[in-house]
């Protein structure tokens, strides 16, 4: 039975190194000006600053899928890098018309609409792009689809956890309790 691929962020552990952003850009060939994962910093420069990598969260009931008028966005069952059947939310860029309705429907602001693309990429101007768990690169290719969530695999502090929700939930809970204990040991000082 297919399981859901998700992201969980241990925000206390994220150091804003940008590894998730960089590996995503590199592996999915995402052009300048578009980011499938963005690192949002809260209280920047003040004690208590926190960083959160935000991307498509691959919702179980995706509002973007319900909003899409051309059925370009859909939940698909694909193989992950271990050969398991997993459910991810993908976008078929050939069907997308760039109406922007999914951008309104998504509570995380994940859909991106690239502009200023030149050369071979000009075809994808204004067409929605988002995280697909590394299943579909920026320029869609034919072939075997494999979910990888490389941002999670390459996260230097394991703040970004991506994969089978059943597996990453235990890692998340452990990391969360450790970070909370460390926080308490420091007497509430971050």
């Amino acid at each position: 039975m297919a399981t859901y691929y998700k992201f969980l962020n241990v925000i206390e552990k994220c150091i804003n190194c940008g590894a998730c952003f960089a590996i995503c850009k590199d592996q999915n060939k995402v052009p300048h000006g578009t980011a499938r994962v963005q690192i949002v910093t809260i209280n920047e420069g003040v004690p208590g600053e926190k960083n959160i990598p935000v991307s498509c969260m691959h919702c179980t009931n995706p509002p973007c899928e319900a909003a899409c008028p051309t059925k370009a966005i859909e939940q698909r069952t694909v193989k992950d890098w271990q050969g398991k059947d997993v459910v991810v939310v993908t976008v078929d860029k050939h069907k997308c018309i760039g109406c922007g309705y999914c951008g309104w429907a998504c509570p995380f602001g994940a859909p991106q609409y690239p502009h200023g693309l030149e050369g071979d990429l000009a075809e994808w101007e204004g067409i929605m792009d988002k995280c697909t768990m590394c299943v579909v690169p920026f320029v869609p290719t034919e072939g075997d689809l494999q979910a990888k969530a490389r941002c999670g695999l390459f996260c230097s502090t394991k703040a970004r956890l991506g994969g089978d929700i059943a597996e990453i939930m235990s890692q998340y809970t452990e990391a969360k309790s450790r970070s909370t204990m460390a926080y308490q040991e420091r007497g509430g000082v971050l």
Binding site: A67, P69, I97, G100, G103, W104, P107, G109, I127
Partner: protein, 334 residues
């Protein structure tokens, strides 16, 4: 104002105005008591379809693939009965435009008084279908009203907290009736001013225009006042943040000038103008009434465009509250 906001403003205002103009022509159809009256009203039939075309150009101009958008959304709508609220909106608009075109043809190609009666063959054919004009008009009106409702609900998503309240429905219906009816009233007034004929039918039409305009402006005032209070009624912290940003943009931010101008021009002056229409109509001073009707339409159109620019320009989707996402995470206990 971004190009996307401009597209939404053009699409929503003009598509709704198109529905309202058709409703106005339906009213005119029932008001006409003779062939002369119908001949006078016929000019108003030029409004609905061209205005719908402007709306379609407006919405397609912001799509990345306009032709594909037109084809897939319309086809998907017909084949699957709508894949989303947006395709339901397209489906309803397409059916409305088809009916509006048929209804307009039945006016313009009337063998006796149609503007296009000089066309070869067609007026004679259309003349045989003339008894269908009123039923087609009624059907188009019903589909138009359904389109207005679907169009409003398409924007009423929980991820768009500033739209997700009943005032959106009121705004869309008000725009349709206010702008559409005054547009037809203005076109007929211009015709009267140019030809100095049709005192009686124009008088009847302008009384109806005045009545609808006053009622709709009162509804608009209530909706505008309800909007600001409803924007503070959101319960989740995340949605409240989006609504707070919307309110700020509306009352003191980039769109504050537009918002105030909308109240002054589109509500205040328009209401004065609509009420002032009663005096020349009572005195049967049709030239003055016609001029006031034209001014009323201009004020209404400017007001509706300004209001819609505020509505779309200040709209903050939940996804755009990302810099404050800490609030969201803390509400989840993360």
């Amino acid at each position: 104002m971004s190009s996307a906001v401009t597209s939404y403003v053009i699409f929503t205002v003009f598509s709704q105005m198109s529905v309202g103009a058709l409703i106005a022509m339906m009213i005119a159809d029932f008001l006409a008591k003779s062939k002369d009256d119908e001949k006078f009203f016929e000019t108003g039939a030029w409004v609905s379809v061209p205005v719908a075309v402007i709306a379609l150009i407006g919405i397609l101009s912001h799509e990345a693939r306009p032709i594909q958008a037109m084809m897939t959304m319309t086809m998907n709508s017909f084949i699957f009965g709508g894949t989303s609220m947006l395709s339901n909106e397209v489906l309803a608009l397409t059916v409305f435009v088809i009916l509006a075109v048929v209804y307009t043809i039945l006016w313009l190609l009337h063998p006796e008084y149609g503007s296009l009666k000089w066309f070869p063959i067609f007026p004679a054919i259309v003349g045989k279908f003339m008894p269908l004009r009123k039923p087609v008009g009624v059907l188009a009106t019903l589909v138009g009203l359904v389109f207005l409702y679907i169009s409003a609900t398409a924007y009423m998503m929980y991820t768009l907290p500033s739209f997700n309240n009943p005032t959106t429905i009121f705004f869309f219906f008000v725009t349709a009736l206010l702008a559409g009816v005054t547009a037809v009233g203005a076109v007929l007034s211009v015709k009267y001013l140019m030809k100095k004929q049709g005192d009686v039918p124009l008088g009847r039409m302008l009384w109806v225009t005045m009545g609808i305009a006053v009622v709709m402006l009162v509804v608009l005032i209530i909706a505008l006042m309800a909007q600001t209070s409803m924007l503070e009624a959101e319960t989740t912290r995340y949605a409240a943040m989006a609504q707070h940003e919307t309110l700020e943009g509306m009352l003191s931010g980039d769109y504050a000038t537009f918002y105030m101008a909308r109240w002054v021009v589109g509500v205040g002056l328009a209401l004065v103008c609509a009420l002032a229409l009663a005096l020349p109509l009572k005195k049967k001073s049709m030239a003055t009434a016609a001029m006031i009707a034209v001014v009323l339409f201009v004020l209404v159109l400017v007001g509706e465009i300004l209001g819609r620019a505020v509505l779309f320009g200040t709209n903050v989707p939940l996804g755009h509250v990302l810099p404050d996402i800490g609030g969201f995470y803390s509400t989840l206990g993360l």
